[in-house]
């Protein structure tokens, strides 16, 4: 009912506007083309400046309302992120200056040079000097940005420091699997045809001697504050993307082609909760590449903790090998069983 009513109201508004518009056309015919054009020029010329002024007011209001909700206000949580933020700022200043100058000129010229019977237009078709100036200035500004940008780019994509810990991240519809290499610090080989959602979600080759201490977790990854983390990223099905908003990085997860990314977290999750004043704060991993109907809910979490807490957590982890082959597990068997059924249900999701 309310739908019909609102449609009726919209139609009514359209009819009114349309009638006014038609009436004004008749008026302008009566007035003569010349006179009505002058009037239109006046009105639109005024609206040009009004739009310029209101536009800047709007930008101010928007900035006031929403800047605090962006990541910039919160600050980056990795050394890479700090560089990104710094660069965002420099880029904002340079493009901001150009934005203000050009928009002001555009709308100001439009207002100032609206039709005036007495003005003789300036026949100005060409000026090599001017054209050279506005070729050179952008080129210089861009050179600065390119140099700055590439320095960061090569740092981000370069080799991580030697002490980096390595975690393998695998995307699947719709969740994340993390693999730690275990005590030997070397990942066991894997082959996708070995994948078994219940016990071997990334397809580890169990015969590989490096594989038997590999640790698998889902949805939550633990890393250490101040220690560089290198991620080796892959996907089980379609392309996903490991989006780390707070660390200001992202990298695609492509089936069949491993990619890498590294970062150094500088605040623990706890510190970030205090810093942002949000007790629910979490370093969320968002999937940033369209991957199907559950794309929007493909969430992972990174827990940044200090070394001590990390060691405690790690000590509690059981190599996946024992989940796959509970009979070989030297410790308590029932726990492993409960664990594996839980895995099976999440994997089916």
């Amino acid at each position: 009912m309310s739908l019909y009513l609102s449609v009726a109201i919209i139609v009514l508004i359209f009819v009114v506007i349309f009638q006014i518009a038609k009436a004004s056309e008749y008026v302008s015919i009566l007035k003569g083309e010349e006179a009505s054009r002058q009037q239109n020029n006046k009105i639109n010329g005024f609206l040009m400046v009004a739009f310029l002024v209101l536009g800047f007011v709007g930008i101010y209001i928007c900035n006031k309302a929403y800047y605090g909700k962006t990541q910039m206000a919160q600050g980056a949580a990795s050394i890479q992120g700090e560089k990104v933020d710094e660069m965002l700022f420099v880029t904002l200043v340079i493009t901001g200056i150009v934005f203000v100058i050009t928009q002001v000129l555009l709308f100001w010229f439009a207002y100032k040079y609206q039709e005036d019977k007495n003005r003789k237009v300036f026949f100005f078709a060409h000026s090599t000097k001017l054209e050279l100036i506005w070729t050179a200035i952008p080129a210089i500004a861009l050179t600065i940005l390119v140099v700055f940008g590439l320095r960061n780019w090569f740092f981000f994509t370069g080799e991580p420091p030697k002490n980096a810990m390595v975690v393998e991240v695998t995307g699947k519809q719709f969740g994340w699997i993390f693999r730690y290499p275990g005590k030997d610090a070397i990942f066991g080989k894997k082959y996708y045809k070995n994948i078994d959602p219940a016990t071997n979600s990334v397809g580890i080759i169990w015969d590989d001697k490096y594989a038997q201490d590999d640790i698998l977790t889902e949805q939550t990854m633990y890393v250490v504050k101040g220690t560089p983390v290198k991620l080796i990223i892959g996907s089980r099905d379609v392309i996903h993307d490991v989006g780390l908003t707070h660390f200001r990085l992202k990298m695609d997860a492509v089936p069949g082609i491993p990619t890498t990314m590294w970062f150094t977290p500088i605040y623990t999750t706890k510190e970030m909760r205090e810093k942002t004043g949000n007790p629910n704060f979490a370093y969320e991993i968002s999937c940033d590449q369209m991957c199907g109907n559950g794309h929007y809910s493909m969430k992972g979490v990174i827990e940044v903790v200090d070394q001590e807490e990390y060691d405690l957590w790690m000590a509690k982890q059981k190599p996946q090998y024992f989940t796959a082959f509970p009979e070989k597990d030297p410790s308590a068997v029932p726990v492993a069983k409960a664990d594996s059924t839980a895995k099976a249900t999440t994997a089916k999701m």
């Binding site: 709007g58 054209e131 780019w153 992202k250 695609d252 082609i257």
Partner: protein, 601 residues
């Protein structure tokens, strides 16, 4: 009708009997299978408008979900059925809407609707030709587009739903039937529609190039062409060189989908299906093929708008376009660079960092010709005598949007920032402003400016002004705040943000954006009413050259027949931008250069 026959035909009609020609036309040959470039242009325009309404409506529907994720609208269920169970759009329907919105707006509206319309309409009229080089191929171009439209439309009614993997259609998602319901038969229809579309655009493009190079009237040297024609020329070249690459990518995709090949597939385990046998393919290969078209495509959309804006701005400032040769050079530079920057869409795919750095450099280089164009437009306005026709307003709006959206391109083109902003709402804001809305403004400017030539009647001015001011204010209100969402890392293509601690703070803003989007959409309906009403009932054009313009299309009769000029095709003596020269308000291109005239272009 072959080129030869068409030519003879026109010569035969020559002087006096051209009017009679029209009487031989049946309804079918005049309005449906027409070979008159003007009629084909109108067919492209109106089909494009139908798609624009559909695509716009889709955006209203998915904005409804983003703005009111918890609300339920029972009427949605009555329209969409199972796609909106309980009055709430399902994720599946949401992704199908987003995907179709993107595909339709990029290809069917802003490629076919924009350059299809104005290349067809303006090229023969502005270069002084009776029709296209091949009117028959031109007609085929429209009918391939029409068929593509029908196939795309039918994909919306497939039981498993239309394709829903994003307009970029990245495999493996688009290649695996089991990865998503939208990747079943909906995707097959999507590919077929796109293949037909590519054929249409190639037939059109080859025709535009041949016509511009071969059929200019006497005296119309290349440097006397209006900038519209130059822009349409580069657009056609871009299309002809890049669309085949997309087609090849699509064909490989068809093979992967249906015939068990592994061009794009490797190491895949699909939930509920198991490990696939495909090995050795590269999912990234498709992205290279796609973006090798995809990036030039951005300029295929943008250049015609730039060309029309240059022309309209010069006419209505009563002043020559500033730096004709620089404008031309920058068009050329943009066209070349368009082919050398595609991988900036792929900075985070694991691209070799060195390769990435080359693409950063080339991408940011585009800012130089773009800056030249902006400053030249500004200088064109400077000390002019501006008439604010609705066409002129949209041209000014185009420049404003091009600046706003172009500058954020400098952010995204820098790989070290893209690694943060990629696929966030910042990107959505950027490309909607610079490519979507700006090109739409170019299209509106063109429609308002050339409507009198198309239909012999005027559009209603007041409605045009209302349309412009609400649309530009609305466009900024929709897309400006999205930059902030992007800076908060909010990813695009999310059905619902409420489960995310990091992104849920924008619920109120999303409601605001959705509301404005609906208002802006309603105002476009106002434009449509104006358009269709004015075709039949608009104020009649009584003067041959209502905008007092220099270009050749205004030397034709008010309602030109097939063949455009009843007599001889006029000869051209000068460039098209002699406005305000030697005390004359304007000097049409057909006026011979006077003995006492100051230096010519």
């Amino acid at each position: 009708m072959s080129h030869e026959a068409a030519l003879h035909n026109h010569e035969g009609h020559g002087h006096d009997d051209h009017g009679d020609h029209e009487h031989h036309d049946t309804f079918l040959t005049k309005y449906v299978f027409s070979q008159d470039h003007k009629m084909i242009a109108k067919q492209f325009l109106i089909t494009g408008m139908v798609w624009a309404v559909l695509g716009g409506l889709m955006s209203v529907l998915f904005r409804l979900q983003l703005g009111y994720p918890d609300a339920s609208f029972p009427w949605l269920e009555s329209i969409l059925g199972k796609w909106a169970k309980g009055g709430q759009i399902t994720p599946e329907a949401y992704y199908a809407l987003v995907t179709t919105h993107g595909t339709v707006l990029v290809f069917f509206v802003l490629t076919a609707g924009l350059s299809g319309t104005f290349a067809n309409f303006l090229i023969p009229l502005q270069i002084g030709a009776r029709d296209m080089a091949s009117p028959f191929l031109n007609m085929l171009s429209y009918w391939f587009f029409f068929t593509a439209s029908i196939v795309m439309l039918s994909s919306l009614f497939v039981e498993t739903g239309p394709f829903s993997g994003g307009w970029t259609a990245y495999p493996p998602l688009s290649a695996l039937h089991d990865a998503s319901p939208g990747s079943k038969s909906g995707m097959d229809l999507w590919i077929i529609a796109m293949a037909l579309f590519v054929v249409s655009s190639l037939l059109g493009g080859l025709n535009y190039i041949a016509t511009i190079l071969n059929m200019r009237t006497k005296g119309m040297s290349m440097t006397r062409l209006p900038l519209t024609i130059w822009a349409l020329f580069f657009t056609a070249v871009l299309g002809v060189l890049s669309f085949p690459v997309l087609l090849s990518g699509m064909i490989l995709l068809i093979f992967d989908r249906n015939f068990g090949t592994s061009f794009y597939l490797s190491d895949i385990y699909v939930n509920g299906v198991g490990a696939l046998s495909n090995e050795g393919g590269s999912a990234i290969l498709f992205q290279h093929l796609f973006w090798f078209l995809g990036h030039p495509e951005v300029y295929i959309i943008l250049l015609p708008a730039m060309g029309m804006v240059s022309e309209i701005m010069s006419v209505n400032s009563r002043k020559p376009i500033f730096g004709y040769m620089a404008m031309l050079g920058s068009l050329f530079a943009i066209a070349i660079l368009a082919f050398l920057v595609w991988a900036h869409h792929m900075f985070v795919t694991g691209l070799n960092p060195f390769l990435g750095s080359v693409f950063v450099l080339l991408t940011l280089l585009i800012a130089v010709p773009s800056a030249i164009k902006v400053f030249n437009w500004l200088t064109t306005l400077w000390r002019g005598n501006i008439r604010f026709t609705p066409g002129m307003l949209f041209a000014i709006g185009f420049v404003s949007l091009f600046i706003s959206g172009g500058l954020t391109g400098i952010w995204l083109g820098n790989a070290a920032l893209d690694i943060y902003l990629h696929d966030s709402y910042f990107v959505v804001a950027h490309f909607h402003i610079v490519m979507g809305v700006a090109s739409m403004f170019g299209m509106f400017a063109g429609v308002y400016h050339w409507f009198p030539k198309m239909y012999g009647r005027y559009l209603n001015n007041t409605l045009g002004y209302i349309h412009f001011w609400i649309t530009i204010a609305g466009a900024y209100m929709i897309f400006w705040p999205m930059h902030y969402q992007g800076l908060a890392g909010m990813p695009r293509r999310y059905f619902d943000f409420s489960i995310w601690e990091s992104f849920k703070q924008f619920a109120e803003l999303n409601r605001f954006i959705s509301t404005v989007a609906m208002i802006v959409f309603a105002v476009q309906i106002l434009f449509l009413i104006n358009f269709f009403y004015s075709i039949f009932k608009g104020r009649k054009v009584t003067v041959q050259n209502p905008w007092e313009s220099n270009t050749l299309e205004w030397t034709t009769p008010i309602r030109p027949g097939h063949g455009n000029w009843p007599g001889e095709i006029p000869e051209v003596h000068r460039w098209p931008y002699d406005y305000g020269k030697d005390g004359h308000d304007f000097i049409p291109q057909t006026t011979p250069v006077g003995a006492d005239e100051t230096g010519t272009h």
